[in-house]
């Protein structure tokens, strides 16, 4: 593992992400994109969750599907920026258990969102009126998962034990 960390951390791309190749703004700009992507991905997800929980009941649920491309774009932005940050500081992330908790929360929340997109946002029976309690429980659980992902993500800056192997 150490050999892998050293190889990755000494790569050109890793040096670029850390701003050690002269591109001092690379790291801040990647971080900014990661925050923006978070806002739009989690924003769309919790709006859908809120609607399922009974917020803004006059919004036809199927029409919230129109915002899914925003969430997909935001996810792509965050996958790319996240991978770049990981390439910049692999030891820092991969030796921290909190990083795996963050990934697990995101994976479960995304799995839930894609299921909502496929099975709930396509069902016109759900456009009006109260939704089944099972869907509401899932929406609540998903909102908690996004909150946990945010906390875990923020804690990465405070809980790491080793920054670099290289």
């Amino acid at each position: 593992m150490e050999t892998f960390f050293i190889w990755l951390e000494s790569s050109t791309l890793s040096l670029w992400v850390r701003g050690e190749s002269g591109a001092h703004m690379a790291f801040p700009i990647i971080i900014v994109f990661h925050a923006l992507g978070m806002g739009f991905l989690v924003g769309v997800a919790i709006a859908i969750n809120g609607r399922i929980l009974g917020v803004a009941p006059k919004i036809p649920l199927t029409l919230l599907k129109n915002f899914i491309p925003v969430a997909v774009l935001a996810f792509v932005v965050n996958a790319v920026s996240g991978i770049l940050l990981l390439i910049g500081y692999p030891t820092k992330a991969l030796t921290n258990p909190v990083f795996y908790i963050k990934l697990l929360c995101i994976a479960l929340a995304l799995w839930n969102l894609s299921w909502f997109n496929k099975a709930v946002l396509t069902n016109p029976n759900y456009d009006q009126g109260d939704l089944p309690i099972r869907l509401k429980q899932l929406a609540a659980a998903s909102t908690i998962l996004w909150a946990c992902a945010i906390v875990a993500g923020r804690l990465l800056a405070y809980t790491y034990t080793t920054i670099m192997t290289f």
């Binding site: 801040p28 971080i31 900014v32 925050a35 923006l36 978070m38 806002g39 739009f40 989690v42 924003g43 769309v44 997800a45 919790i46 709006a47 809120g50 917020v55 803004a56 009941p57 006059k58 919004i59 036809p60 029409l63 919230l64 129109n66 915002f67 925003v70 996004w146 909150a147 945010i150 906390v151 993500g153 923020r154 804690l155 800056a157 405070y158």
Partner: protein
């Protein structure tokens, strides 16, 4: 002048209280600040996108019911943001990125006042498939751009520490 303001902020009881809450109070407040950001984008951001023409079929009246959650997120962020500024005033008062963030917030604030005093009454009554008048689209674009600006400048604060 700024020196005095910064010193005063850090001499307040609020500043002492926040710092004395232990090492986890800062990261937890930051996490809440991020959650507030998501609430804001998930409500105000989506309303802006609807005004700009996305998700036609949803009436302004229906989607506007999301706004209280954005206001809640904003208040959460004003609260946590105030704690940051009082807790470590130097880092913000002398920080160019923080100044940009305040400018974006100010423009967003003026824009929202304009929207509710001129545009909202007209578009509230529009049908679910209607296109928004140009002035409302402009205001929605300014709003979205300002909140994106707030996020960018906010996230960059840490890289412009004095």
């Amino acid at each position: 002048m700024l020196r005095e303001i910064s010193d005063w902020l850090e001499s307040t009881r609020l500043s002492d209280w926040f710092i004395s809450q232990g090492v986890w109070s800062w990261p937890m407040s930051e996490s809440l600040h991020f959650m507030g950001l998501c609430l804001l984008i998930g409500s105000v951001g989506l309303v802006d996108l609807r005004m700009l023409g996305m998700a036609k079929g949803i009436s302004v009246e229906a989607i506007h019911k999301l706004i209280p959650f954005g206001v809640g997120g904003f208040l959460l962020n004003v609260t946590t943001g105030t704690l940051f500024v009082f807790g470590d005033a130097d880092q913000y008062i002398f920080n160019d990125s923080f100044r940009f963030k305040l400018v974006f917030l100010l423009i967003a604030g003026i824009n929202v006042l304009f929207f509710y005093s001129t545009g909202f009454q007209k578009v509230k009554a529009l049908g679910p498939d209607d296109d928004m008048p140009l002035n409302v689209k402009v205001m929605a674009g300014i709003s979205l751009a300002c909140w994106i600006g707030v996020i960018c400048a906010g996230r960059l604060i840490t890289f412009y520490r004095p």
